[in-house]
């Protein structure tokens, strides 16, 4: 066989192998752009124009670094992240770590249901019957909650999880909308590469939100347990690594276009209304969809939130039970794994119930935003333990972090800690000074 053909055959084989593994990485990355993600990126563009674009490059690098580390830990040990935390750092560290993850995830679960409820509200104002849709919410949200419960407990949801990948097509709306809005691409690219600093609390708050919605502890737990379920070991690690990397880049390219589209339509356009509700964010799609922007936005938000609302309670409960050593998993019955079902059910049901409290809809956007900041705040301690595991030679042998990666990861942990402290400092200062 001629050399070129051979190379082609090899490339094709590799591509097929990667496609076959679609996709813990791609799926995890898609869940990443959930309702909290859309809200956070949109607000970043609407409030600060292009000023936060530069954070995307370091965030992408850190996202790839952490996701690769989880992939490697899973492939080399065959154990979940909570299992490894428990064996390496003991029960106390695991308990407190999982407790903060639980709290942050609970916030994110509420934000997913807020996304679902908002999508219904947006349809209400787009059709001109807001009261009718406000009532419809009380029918749809409980029905969806039952649907999620049935889907996860009675069926093999893994078989249909790829269905949720269609939300990727919704995200294509953003690049198109951004293109049609005719931004100054030159300055967008410049803003992507050259950092802009603003020293006010809101800027740091939004920045931590952007970090926290992109790199979240629960995604690492979720990714690692999915890889293990698929039986991915060191042999498949190379392919899995690329798939995960591809997923990370896809998610951040989408983030870029969301920020640009929102910056142009909601920040740079003179006379654009201030963003005060989730509905205003949907206006970023007007260049693409015109008067149908609301429907398009509602549909995308709905799909993205639904996936998150299904996966988050499940993966949170799984991680907690894994760390505490309780029976877990859908192949266990309630009698075998009571903790697992209790945690899963309470997260799901109470998350749905909260967004139905009458008159609470004005808080939806706030919840989406704050929950992502919470994820950003718990990130440094979580990464501290993750990087320690990745560095552990007795655990990973030759698959431990190489020195450069270890240094890069530790630098990120320090920088994130400093950013978090700045936000805390600024918040306290504003509270005191007023």
């Amino acid at each position: 066989m001629p050399h070129r053909l051979l190379a082609f055959a090899r490339a094709r084989r590799r591509l097929l192998a990667i496609l076959a593994l679609v996709g813990p990485g791609l799926i995890t990355a898609t869940v990443d752009n959930d309702s909290g993600g859309i809200a956070t990126y949109s607000l970043a563009g609407a409030l600060y124009g292009f000023d936060l674009l530069w954070t995307l490059i370091p965030i992408t690098i850190l996202l790839i670094v952490t996701m690769e580390m989880s992939t490697r830990l899973g492939a080399a040990t065959g154990q979940g992240l909570a299992d490894l935390l428990r064996e390496r750092f003991g029960v106390k560290v695991t308990f407190w770590m999982l407790l903060v993850v639980l709290l942050a995830n609970y916030g994110t679960i509420i934000s997913e249901f807020s996304g679902i409820a908002s999508a219904i509200d947006i349809c209400g104002s787009a059709t001109g019957y807001p009261e009718f849709f406000a009532w419809l919410k009380y029918l749809i949200v409980p029905l969806l909650t039952c649907g999620i419960w049935k889907l996860i407990t009675e069926y093999d949801y893994k078989k249909i999880e790829k269905f949720f990948l269609i939300s990727i097509f919704f995200y294509f709306a953003y690049p198109i909308s951004a293109y049609l809005a005719k931004p100054d691409w030159g300055s967008a690219i410049k803003a992507l590469v050259v950092p802009t600093w603003r020293f006010d609390a809101g800027y740091f708050f939004t920045m931590i939100g952007v970090i926290g919605t992109t790199i979240t502890p629960w995604m690492q737990f979720y990714l690692q347990s999915t890889l293990i379920e698929k039986g991915i070991t060191l042999k498949d690690y190379d392919n899995a690594k690329w798939e995960v990397g591809l997923g990370c880049i896809t998610t951040d390219v989408i983030s870029f276009f969301i920020i640009v589209a929102c910056a142009v339509t909601l920040n740079f356009t003179p006379g654009a209304p201030p963003v005060s509700s989730i509905e205003d964010i949907g206006k970023a799609l007007i260049p693409l969809a015109g008067s149908y922007a609301g429907y398009l936005f509602a549909l995308g938000l709905f799909n993205a939130s639904l996936f998150g609302a299904a996966i988050l309670p499940l993966s949170t409960s799984f991680a907690i039970c894994e760390g505490m050593g309780w029976e877990r998993g859908m192949n266990k019955t309630y009698d075998e794994a009571p903790w697992f079902y209790w945690i899963f059910a309470s997260l799901l049901i109470s998350g749905a119930a909260i967004v139905l409290i009458p008159g609470i809809s004005f808080l939806y956007l706030g919840v989406m935003r704050v929950s992502q900041v919470a994820q950003g705040l718990i990130l440094p301690p979580f990464l501290y333990f993750l990087v320690k595991l990745g560095d552990d030679r007795s655990l990973l042998g030759e698959y431990a972090n190489p020195p450069w990666l270890s240094r890069l990861s530790w630098a990120s942990v320090y920088i994130l800690t400093i950013i978090d402290l700045i936000l805390l400092g600024a918040t306290i200062k504003e509270l005191i000074v007023g």
Binding site: T77, Q79, L84, R88, V91, T233, G325, T333, S394, L395
Partner: protein, 427 residues
């Protein structure tokens, strides 16, 4: 577990670790941080108590160097600084390493995590009695036992400790196993393959591989055959092909085929190439049929007798063949040209007159399937006619294999309403 007067006191490791130890030298307060363990006995001896001084130095004390050893009242007879250093005893196994590790409870055949350890003082010696895997142990480790337990007990009754005796636990060779217990011992080997398979399903691929490594090929094959399909494929895929083919050879060909069909083609071909020629040809034959048809389910080991045989001859023939056959429910009466004429059950043979011909007692109303019959139909036939096995015939009416009830039992269970099945499997 040792009982009676021998047993002087019981402790939990979590209560002892961090406990303050008084010594004659009031200037050097110290605390218990760990114990060293001497493995080998049924309830291993804790040879030394590791104490840490305020300066952070770790020393080893023996039980008899304590004048008092009770929870809340620990007293050394000499100053901690005069005791030997921990580093003076290289390779000591520290008990705290067992905390938070996974172990196999061999009485229940399940994998559990160690929350705490129970220690007993027997005849002046400290011994490791068992592991605590319960919720109370978890609270104790977290330091919540004192204030949470009374609260919980008020609502839900007494919160008991869940202790598993050390003599019935087995270590799991984990990634962190520096415990030198990792020899798969007698306890594991004595378990039934079906129980071993349950454990295998709970372990990671790596742990499962090291579990199987400790078993002989036959037990490994029986264990793997009982495991879930996903576990089977993941484990076989990770094994060296020679070992994998040895294990698959031990299995019934139809079971081996199920696993091979779940593997990547390259790997399956490689394993086949290592297999014994005769076995491999059976497997290749079965591989031709899709997984979800009678051809994919059937096994090729069955007992045939010829139409001219008498009952007595049939018995003689059966004794010769039985050696190679795993399961014999029926004898298949065939003509010279291999065509199936009828079926005789072992019971029919036993009650028949030894001199009568098999054709007289055989059942010639044949219920059979062809290799491409869907598995659901096979299961339905077996269940409808209460059969133990069903012959698979080719288009000329020749026998190619049999599907036995154990090949379709999973399918019969799968078709039960879900909740019913759960109840059936867990009760």
């Amino acid at each position: 577990m040792p009982t009676g007067q021998d047993l002087e006191a019981r402790f939990f490791l979590a209560d002892l670790v961090g406990a303050e130890v008084r010594s004659p030298d009031e200037a050097s307060p110290c605390r218990i941080v760990d114990f060293t363990l001497l493995l080998g006995e049924k309830y291993p001896r804790l040879s030394h108590i590791v104490v840490e001084t305020a300066a952070g130095e770790r020393h080893l004390a023996r039980r008899d160097q304590f004048s008092r050893f009770a929870s809340g009242a620990l007293e050394l007879m000499q100053s901690a600084n005069s005791l030997p250093h921990l580093s003076d005893v290289p390779d000591s196994v520290l008990v705290r390493n067992i905390w938070d590790k996974q172990i196999v409870d061999t009485s229940d055949a399940r994998v559990v995590r160690v929350n705490d350890l129970q220690i007993a003082e027997v005849k002046g010696e400290l011994r490791l009695l068992g592991v605590d895997v319960g919720f109370r142990g978890l609270l104790r480790r977290l330091g919540f036992e004192r204030f949470l337990c009374p609260l919980i007990e008020r609502f839900s009754g007494p919160l008991k400790n869940e202790i598993i005796g050390w003599d019935i636990v087995e270590s799991v060779p984990t990634n962190f196993t520096h415990l030198k217990l990792a020899v798969p011992s007698q306890k594991i080997r004595e378990l039934h393959p079906a129980d071993l398979a349950d454990i295998l399903d709970d372990l990671s691929v790596q742990e499962g591989l090291s579990l199987l490594k400790g078993l002989d090929t036959e037990t490994a094959a029986e264990t793997l055959a009982e495991a879930e399909a996903e576990t089977q494929a993941q484990i076989i895929a990770e094994m060296p092909s020679e070992r994998a083919s040895d294990i698959l050879e031990e299995m019934e060909p139809d079971e081996a085929v199920d696993i091979l069909q779940d593997l990547e083609e390259d790997k399956a071909a490689e394993i086949l190439s290592h297999m014994d020629a005769e076995e491999a040809s059976d497997v290749r034959e079965l591989l031709k049929h899709p997984e979800n048809t009678a051809g994919g389910l059937m096994s090729m080991g069955f007992a045939t007798i010829f139409e001219e045989f008498s009952v007595d001859e049939a018995f003689k023939h059966l004794r010769l063949m039985a050696v190679d056959l795993e399961i014999i429910y029926y004898l298949y009466v065939v003509a010279k040209n291999d065509r199936l004429l009828g079926v005789v059950s072992i019971r029919d043979l036993l009650v028949a007159n030894p001199t009568s011909r098999v054709t007289e007692i055989m059942n010639d109303k044949l219920i059979f399937v062809t290799p491409d019959t869907p598995q659901e139909e096979v299961a339905a036939l077996i269940s409808k006619y209460d059969l133990l096995a069903l012959p698979v015939l080719d288009e000329d009416g020749g026998m190619v294999g049999v599907v036995t009830i154990d090949d379709v039992i999973e399918l019969l269970l799968d078709n039960m309403p879900r909740m019913w099945k759960r109840r059936a499997l867990t009760s």
